[in-house]
């Protein structure tokens, strides 16, 4: 098993030399970001989104988090209206949530950058669950024909913002696969009303 999170001094000393090996190496506990389920429906001048995402950090990223490095998680949306030749993108939105560890209290603090709201959680999983759960998020968009919801569809993905990491960590984050946390774009249909 190859891991850079082992609290081993010797390893840390020679970490730069083995880091290139991480290009091909994979951690035993791999992290993964996944959009599990999403519901989207039309409201007045908005698309309302409720989503459930699986956000799991690998050991490497967990170690970074508990070492005090804040992680920025981006949830990106894009709403399209279908056309016969080329779908039109009606808008694009990004929700940014920062998770960081508070060593003194042992809590994980989640700050939603868009609203400024901050909450703390006793465990990392709860914190990530909180980030990965969207409840009726409103995406303001001009709806031309609400009756025909088939015309609209939503693209969504969740990813970790590598560029928000400290500069020295960025090359590693770009090169090492445990840091490649990206759900890829998922496509969801937009309904006319919320599912019961």
């Amino acid at each position: 098993m190859v891991s850079i999170m082992l609290p081993c001094r010797k390893f840390k000393r020679y970490a730069p030399m083995v880091l290139m090996g991480l290009l091909v190496a994979t951690s035993a506990v791999a992290g993964e970001f996944r959009v599990k389920n999403t519901q989207a429906w039309l409201a007045d001048k908005a698309v309302i989104v409720t989503a459930d995402m699986d956000l799991v950090l690998g050991e490497d990223v967990e170690a970074a988090l508990t070492s005090g490095i804040p992680l920025d998680i981006l949830i990106e949306f894009a709403v399209y209206r279908a056309r016969w030749f080329w779908d039109k993108r009606l808008g694009q939105w990004t929700l940014r949530a920062q998770v960081k560890y508070h060593a003194l209290s042992g809590l994980y603090i989640v700050t939603l950058q868009n609203s400024g709201e901050s909450r703390s959680f006793a465990t990392q999983s709860r914190a990530l669950k909180y980030v990965g759960t969207l409840d009726r998020v409103s995406l303001p968009v001009t709806i031309e024909n609400k009756a025909d919801s088939n015309q609209y569809w939503l693209e969504m993905r969740v990813l970790m913002d590598v560029e928000a990491l400290p500069v020295p960590l960025r090359p590693l984050a770009y090169l090492a696969t445990p840091w490649h946390l990206n759900s890829d774009w998922t496509r969801w249909s937009v309904e006319t009303s919320p599912a019961s």
């Binding site: 850079i4 840390k12 000393r13 970490a15 730069p16 880091l19 170690a63 970074a64 508990t66 070492s67 005090g68 490095i69 560890y101 508070h102 060593a103 003194l104 209290s105 042992g106 809590l107 603090i109 700050t111 400024g116 901050s118 703390s120 590598v162 560029e163 400290p166 500069v167 020295p168 960590l169 960025r170 090359p171 590693l172 770009y174």
Partner: protein
Amino acid sequence: MERRDLTRFLMGPVPAVVLSTLLIVTLAMLSAAALHSEVYGVYYSALLGVSVVGIIALMVLIAAHVYRMVLQMRAGILGSRLTLKLIGIYVLLAIIPLAVVYYISVQFLHRGIDSWFDVRIEQALDDALLLGRTSLEAVKEERVKRVQNLATGLDLVNSKQAMVRALDDLREQAGFTEVTLLSQDGRIIASSNLYTGSLIPNRPSISVLSRLRQGEIYANLEPTGDENLELQIVIPIYPLDVKQPVRILQVREPLPLRYSKLGKSVETASTEFNKLAYLRGPLKLSFVLTLTLVTLMTLLIAVWAAIFSARALTAPLRDLAEGTRAVTQGEYDKQLPESSSDELGVLVKSFNKMTRKIKQAQTVARRSQQETEDQRTYLETVLTHLSSGVLSFDVKGSLRTLNSAASDILLVNLKQDIGSTLKNLNTSYSQLEPFFNVIQNAIDNEIPEWRTEVTVVGARGRQVITSRGTKMGASKRRGGGYVVVFDDVTKLIQAQRDAAWGEVARRLAHEIKNPLTPIQLSAERIRHRCMSKLDKDEQETLDRATRTISEQVESMKSMVNAFSNYAQLKQMQPEQMDLNQLVEDVVELYRGEGNAAVLDLNLDNRLPLILADRSRLRQVLNNLLTNARDALAGNKNQRIELDTRFVQEADRSYVELTVLDNGPGFQEELLGRLFEPYVTTKEKGNGLGLAIVKKIVEEHGGAVWAQNRKGVGASLTIQLPMDVQKNRSDNDNLVSQSGDIQA
């Protein structure tokens, strides 16, 4: 821009300089971004990408250069091997110090970063954090007890308004920020909040409620948005009246400022240290990466500089090698660019001076060669237009040069025989054997100068050739040899003879014919006057004497007339004629009574028409037949044979007529002079018959000769060449003689 121009541009110095500058700037910015990430951190990844791409581009360019030079070396292009060797040396010189500096820098960097992290500091921070937590735990317990005490009595409040007032009092009394009373299932009963903006109080989570239901107390420190700490305490309130429901009191209060500040300080220090400790590896990687990029860029720029400087250094040598090769290939006007003033520049200048000198020498040589060529052409022109034939032979007797007149005179194409020896020429042209033998003899005996006259029987019949030979002086290139100049004097000799005989005839006619008539008249007068005065015996003597005088005078007259006719000038009148037909016509005259000889004709049917003067050839036939008949006089079995045949040889064709008889043959001592006037064995005749035959045959360009047959009789052969047309034109100006002299 064409592809070749683009390639030349890319392989030039401009892309390298631009790339190098870009890389230096990028790496400087990258370094700044790594050191001051809070300011330039956002550009770090982009700069890293640009640096990597730039370095790869530089590597590709260098690889292209090296590949091209390897190709040039394999193709054997001059200077490429030296250039590669120089580049190798330069690169080696650059790599060694760079590698040393790189290694030391990496070691220094590792040790430097490791030295930031002291174990004791880490431990102290951990201890401080633990102390902070312990201290806060004590505060928490004390606060819980305090809340429990303050909550006493709240279970007795029944009305909602009283409850709100009681909570307000409690909050103000204890200094809480928020006090909330909730039912056991988490519903809010009453609440008091320091911040009136917060209408809805925070409810405890389900897990907290669950723990309370189990009789536990929940107290925890939570960081607020401004990074201060807030204490959340949730306790159950058990009423004294068991019938009353259990309630839950949630209290939020900020940690005392002293604790908050200390906690915040410990938290920040610990977090920062842990963060740095974690980033130690990536930090090293980042620095090593930057250092590696800088080193690599330095190395690549050094390699690039090595390529250009090696090229610049070897360019004059390459030019010199190229120039030398050009000179060896005859390009003597090659000039090299004189760009430097160092030793190589001096060498280039010397080379240019040398080629200029060679060029001048070459120009002089070419001019001299041209003059020689002009002279040779002039000489050739003179020789070509010379009527005399000129042949030159080397010491071994091989034909070296000739002019066109030589071939014209000898009637053979000698140009194709250049290089042939005289022996081979003899074999090829047997009719010219006497001519070549004379030359061979002169060469064999190394006669310095000679002059001779030979007779050959060629395509035009008998030719008299006068030739003069001179031995050439030997030189280094030419080992001597002979020059032979010759002329065809056949016509000249013939004309001289004709003129001589004409003069004789004219003299005879003039000097002899004039006194003959007075002699004859005088004899007749003597006879007339004296006949009657003499007796009979004397009359007979006189009569006989005067008759003899008259007869001899007549005879002399006819002889003089014959000479007169021989000398008389008359133009030839050639025409296309059949010789066989002429022979048959003439022979017919010699058949019949009075002609005892049997005439046999053996005529060649292939005989072509020839261009000849019919009347003259008739006279030739008459003379020959008369001679033959006279020669056979007294023979019992007289036989005359006339043969004609058409002969085609390699370079000539002719018609041959032979008259054979079975008489006594020619006297051997006369055979050599048979065709001269006054040479005869007959009692009668003036000795002009065969002379006339010879003259007519020669006028036709032919040849005639006589010989005795083996056994009995004689033969007389006439050869008439087929190209009489040419011969006739040559003879147009020649005088000819005709006559009906009987031999």
